[in-house]
C-alpha cells in the first residue's frame, strides 16, 4: 500500500516537473553542448541557411490567342555555396487546361504538372517555360492562375550535421595576440565593476539604514537604475557624455574645469599625472565600468540593507555603553556582520559582469579598448559572420566560468568547515 503511494507520488512529480525540465534543457543545456559541436567546425553565417529550391511564377498572355497562356517559372537555388539534390516540382492547373509543350523532365496528369529537375548546383538558375491552352475555348483568368503557388522540394546537406571537425577556431582564439588583451579587458571590467558596485552598495545601505525623512522614497529611487531598461539608460548616458553637445562636457566647459571636451566613450587612453607620476588611464573602459557600477550597485544595496536591518540592536547599544565611536562601530560591528553577504554578492556580480554583453555593446560597441569576451562572441559570430569562431569564444567563456565557480565553491566550502 505504502509502496504504491510512493509510486504515484513519484509519477505525479515527474508529470509536474517534466514540461519545465524539457523546456529548460532544450533551450539552455542543449545549446551549451551544441556550442561545443559548432566550435569545432568551420561554419559561417551564410552556411546556416538551408538551401531551398525556389520558383517565381510569371503568367503572360499571348497576343491574339485568348485561349492560350504562357507560364514562366524562374527557378533558382537559393544557396550560393551548396547544391540541392533531386529537386522535384509540382503545380496545379484549372480543370480545362491542356499542355502544349511538355518538357522531357515533366509529366502532366490530372491537371497536375510534375517535374524532376535532378541536381541543382550552387547559384543554379533556369527559366522554365510552359504553354497551356484551354480545351473548351474559354478565356483565361490570369489572377487565379497566379494565386496557385508551385511546390518545390529537394535534398541538401546541412553543414551543421556533417562530421568535418577542425581545431582552427580554438587555435585562432587562443593564440592570436589579442587574446591576452581581451582577457585583461574582461577582467578589469568585471573586477572593478564588481568591487565598485559593492562599495557603493555598502555606502548607500549604511545611509538608508539611518532614519531620515523620505527614507522609503530614497529606497525606491536607489533601485531605479537596476529596474529600468538597459537600452534607455545606455542611450541616455551616451547623450550625457557626448563630446560635442553632451551635457557633462558642456557643464565642465561652462565652469572652466576642462578646456577641451573629453570623448569619454571614444577615447582609449588618457594621460593623467598625479603627484608627478604620469600614467595612462583606459578612459572608455573606465567610463563603461562607471556605467556598470551605476546600474548594478542597487542590487548590492538591496542585499546589504536587508542584512543590516537584521543585525541585533543590542550590539550597537553595548558598543555605545563602551563608548565606541561611529567608525569603530562600523568597522567592528557592521562590517563583520555583512562579510557573508558581500562574498555571495561578489560571486554573483562577478559571474554576471563577466558575461555582461548589453551594457558595453550599447555604449561603445566594443570600440576604444572596451572589447570584452562576450562582445567578442558577438563580433566574431555576427560582425565577421564566423559562427564557428563565435562558438569557440563562448566555450572559452564557459570554461573560465566553470573554473571560477569551482574555486569559489572550494573556498566557500573551506570557510563553512572552519565555522
Amino acid at each position: 500500500m505504502n509502496d504504491t503511494l510512493a509510486n504515484t507520488e513519484k509519477k505525479t512529480a515527474y508529470i509536474l516537473t517534466l514540461p519545465a525540465v524539457l523546456l529548460v534543457f532544450s533551450i539552455i543545456l542543449f545549446p551549451i553542448f551544441a556550442n561545443i559541436w559548432i566550435s569545432f567546425k568551420e561554419v559561417e553565417l551564410k552556411d546556416i541557411r538551408i538551401p531551398e529550391p525556389r520558383a517565381k511564377k510569371i503568367v503572360k498572355s499571348i497576343s491574339d490567342e485568348p485561349t492560350k497562356i504562357k507560364i514562366l517559372y524562374k527557378l533558382r537555388n537559393s544557396s550560393l555555396i551548396q547544391e540541392i539534390r533531386d529537386v522535384s516540382f509540382q503545380d496545379n492547373f484549372p480543370k480545362n487546361f491542356e499542355i502544349e509543350n511538355l518538357d522531357p523532365r515533366c509529366s502532366y496528369e490530372k491537371y497536375n504538372l510534375k517535374c524532376e529537375f535532378g541536381n541543382w548546383p550552387a547559384k543554379y538558375r533556369e527559366n522554365f517555360q510552359v504553354i497551356f491552352a484551354t480545351n473548351d475555348g474559354s478565356s483565361i483568368d490570369k489572377k487565379n492562375l497566379k494565386s496557385i503557388k508551385p511546390k518545390l522540394d529537394g535534398k541538401s546537406d546541412n553543414i551543421l550535421l556533417n562530421t568535418n571537425f577542425t581545431l582552427k577556431n580554438f587555435k585562432k582564439v587562443l593564440f592570436e595576440n589579442e587574446f591576452i588583451d581581451l582577457l585583461l579587458t574582461t577582467f578589469y571590467y568585471t573586477f572593478f565593476g564588481t568591487v565598485g558596485s559593492i562599495v557603493f552598495g555598502i555606502l548607500t545601505a549604511q545611509m538608508v539604514n539611518q532614519k531620515f525623512y523620505g527614507r522609503t522614497f530614497m529606497r525606491s529611487v536607489l533601485l531605479f537604475p537596476y529596474v529600468a531598461p538597459v537600452v534607455a539608460l545606455a542611450y541616455t548616458w551616451e547623450l550625457l557624455l557626448d563630446p560635442n553637445s553632451g551635457t557633462l562636457n558642456s557643464l565642465l566647459l561652462n565652469y572652466q574645469i576642462i578646456e577641451t571636451p573629453i570623448n569619454l566613450l571614444g577615447q582609449k587612453y588618457i594621460e593623467i599625472s598625479i603627484l608627478g607620476f604620469d600614467f595612462k588611464l583606459r578612459l572608455a573602459l573606465t567610463t563603461v565600468i562607471m556605467f556598470e557600477i551605476w546600474r548594478y550597485f542597487p542590487l548590492a544595496f538591496l542585499f546589504i540593507l536587508a542584512r543590516l536591518q537584521a543585525i541585533p540592536k543590542e550590539l550597537y547599544e553595548a558598543a555605545d555603553v563602551d563608548g565606541a565611536s561611529p567608525f569603530q562601530k562600523f568597522f567592528n560591528i557592521t562590517l563583520p556582520q555583512i562579510t557573508a553577504v558581500i562574498s555571495i554578492l561578489f560571486m554573483i556580480r562577478f559571474i554576471w559582469n563577466f558575461n555582461k554583453f548589453e551594457d558595453v555593446f550599447l555604449l561603445t560597441g566594443g570600440a576604444s579598448g572596451t572589447r570584452t569576451l562576450p562582445i567578442n562572441v558577438y563580433q566574431q559570430g555576427f560582425a565577421i559572420s564566423d559562427i564557428g569562431m563565435g562558438s569557440a569564444v563562448s566555450i572559452v567563456i564557459v570554461v573560465l566560468l566553470l573554473m571560477f565557480m569551482f574555486f569559489y565553491f572550494k573556498l566557500l566550502g573551506k570557510r563553512v568547515d572552519e565555522n
Partner: protein
C-alpha cells in the same frame, strides 16, 4: 580640543553647504541661466562664518529667527551683490540656506565637548551628503531623458545646457517627438508586441513553474536534489553563450523574427528562478492543509489550484512582476532574433532607431521614456512585491 572641534565642525558643514549650492547652480545652469563659476571661495568664507556665528550665538536667539537672519544675509551678499540672477534662483538659495542652518542648529558648543563629537558630525553630514549625492547622480539621467524628449533639435544644438521647457507652447509642439515616434516609427505596434511578449512570458512561465515548484517543494522523487541544485547552476549560465546555437537552430526552424521564438527563449531563461522562488514559498505553507485535502480525495491538480495557488498569491505576484520586468527589459535575444521591423520589441526598436545616425536625439529619448515609464510605474506601484522578487532572483544581472 574645543577649538579643534569647532574648526572641524565648521569645515565639515561648510563643505556640505558648498555641495548644496553647487548642485543648485548646476540645476540653474540647466534652466538656461549663465553661471560660469561656482564661487567656491566666497561660499567657503560665508559658510565658515555662519557656522561659527551659529555656535557663538547659541540659544540667545530663537533658532527660526537665527536661520532666517543667516539665510537672508547670505542671499543678499551672494545674489544681489555678486551675481545678479533672477528671483527664483535666490529663493532657491534662501531655502537651501534655511535647510542648512536648520541642520546645523542641533549642534552646540557644549555638544562639541563630548567624546567622538567630530566623528558623529562627520557621519551625520556624510549621510546627508550621500542622500543628496546619490539622488542627484541617479535621478539626473532620468531627468535628462525626460526633458530632452520635449526639446527640439535646434534648441539642443544652440545651447546644450538649456533644458528649460516652454510650457506655454502648443501641446502638439511640446509632445512632437512622441507624435513622431508613434506615427512615423510605429511605436504603438512595438508597445503591443512588447506587451504581448512580456505578458505571454509571465503566463507561460507560471504555468510551467507552479507545478514544477510544487513537486520540488513537496513530493519525494528520484533526482529531486539534483534538480533543485541544478536549477540555480543553470541560471548562472550566461545568455551570451546560448546565443549562437539558438540563432542557428532558430534560423533553420524559421523561428527567428517571430513572437513564438522570443516567448520560448524568455520562458526558458526565467523558469529556473521562478521555480526557485516559488518552491521556497510553497515549503512555508503548512502541510496539514494538503493532508486534509488528500483525505478529501483531491487530486494534485485540485491541491495546486484550490490550496497552493490561493495561499501563495503574494509570492506568485512577485514572481510575475519580476518575470515581466525581465522580459520587458530584455535586449540581447531581441537583438539577435529580430531583424524585421515588423516584429520588433520596444528595446530592439530603440536600438534600431539609434543605428541611424540621422535620427534626432529627442526621438531617441522619447522612445526611451516610452520604454522606461511602464517599468518604473510598475516598480513604484508594486514595490513591495518587486523588491522581494529582486532579492530572491537577484542572480539575474
Amino acid at each position: 580640543m574645543r577649538i579643534k572641534n569647532t574648526i572641524l565642525f565648521s569645515l565639515i558643514s561648510t563643505f556640505f553647504l558648498i555641495f548644496l549650492i553647487s548642485i543648485w547652480k548646476i540645476l540653474a545652469t540647466l534652466q538656461g541661466l549663465s553661471i560660469n563659476s561656482f564661487n567656491i571661495e566666497i561660499i567657503l568664507i560665508f559658510g565658515f562664518l555662519i557656522s561659527l556665528a551659529h555656535l557663538g550665538i547659541g540659544d540667545r536667539i530663537k533658532s527660526i529667527y537665527k536661520s532666517i537672519i543667516f539665510s537672508s544675509i547670505f542671499v543678499f551678499c551672494d545674489g544681489y551683490l555678486i551675481q545678479k540672477l533672477p528671483i527664483w534662483y535666490n529663493v532657491g538659495v534662501f531655502l537651501i540656506l534655511y535647510f542648512f542652518t536648520n541642520k546645523i542648529s542641533k549642534y552646540t558648543f557644549i555638544g562639541l565637548k563630548e567624546e567622538h563629537s567630530t566623528q558623529v558630525i562627520l557621519f551625520d553630514f556624510l549621510t546627508l551628503f550621500g542622500i543628496l549625492f546619490f539622488s542627484f547622480v541617479i535621478l539626473f539621467p532620468f531627468y535628462m531623458m525626460l526633458v530632452t524628449s520635449f526639446k527640439t533639435q535646434i534648441a539642443l544644438l544652440v545651447n546644450p545646457l538649456d533644458f528649460s521647457i516652454n510650457f506655454g507652447q502648443d501641446i502638439k509642439d511640446l509632445f512632437k517627438s512622441y507624435f513622431v515616434i508613434f506615427k512615423s516609427y510605429k511605436f504603438g505596434k512595438y508597445i503591443v508586441i512588447s506587451t504581448i511578449v512580456s505578458v505571454g512570458t509571465v503566463i507561460i512561465t507560471l504555468l510551467f513553474a507552479i507545478p514544477a515548484a510544487y513537486a520540488v517543494a513537496r513530493l519525494n522523487f528520484f533526482g529531486k536534489t539534483f534538480l533543485s541544485t541544478s536549477i540555480l547552476i543553470i541560471y548562472m549560465f550566461p545568455a551570451i553563450v546560448l546565443v549562437i546555437p539558438l540563432y542557428t537552430i532558430f534560423s533553420q526552424l524559421g523561428l527567428r523574427n517571430s513572437i513564438e521564438g522570443l516567448l520560448i527563449v524568455y520562458t526558458a531563461t526565467t523558469l529556473p528562478v521562478a521555480i526557485y522562488m516559488l518552491q521556497g514559498y510553497f515549503k512555508s505553507i503548512p502541510k496539514e492543509l494538503e493532508e486534509a485535502a488528500i483525505l478529501d480525495k483531491l487530486s494534485w491538480f485540485g491541491i495546486i489550484t484550490k490550496i497552493i495557488i490561493p495561499l501563495s498569491i503574494p509570492a506568485i505576484s512577485s514572481v510575475a512582476l519580476y518575470v515581466f520586468m525581465i522580459a520587458w527589459n530584455e535586449f540581447l535575444f531581441s537583438l539577435m532574433f529580430l531583424d524585421n521591423p515588423n516584429s520588433f520589441t520596444l528595446s530592439r526598436a530603440i536600438q534600431y532607431l539609434s543605428g541611424d545616425a540621422e535620427t534626432p536625439r529627442q526621438y531617441l529619448m522619447a522612445g526611451s521614456v516610452v520604454v522606461t515609464l511602464p517599468v518604473l510605474f510598475i516598480f513604484v506601484y508594486f514595490e513591495k512585491y518587486l523588491v522581494s522578487g529582486l532579492t530572491a532572483g537577484s542572480v539575474k544581472g
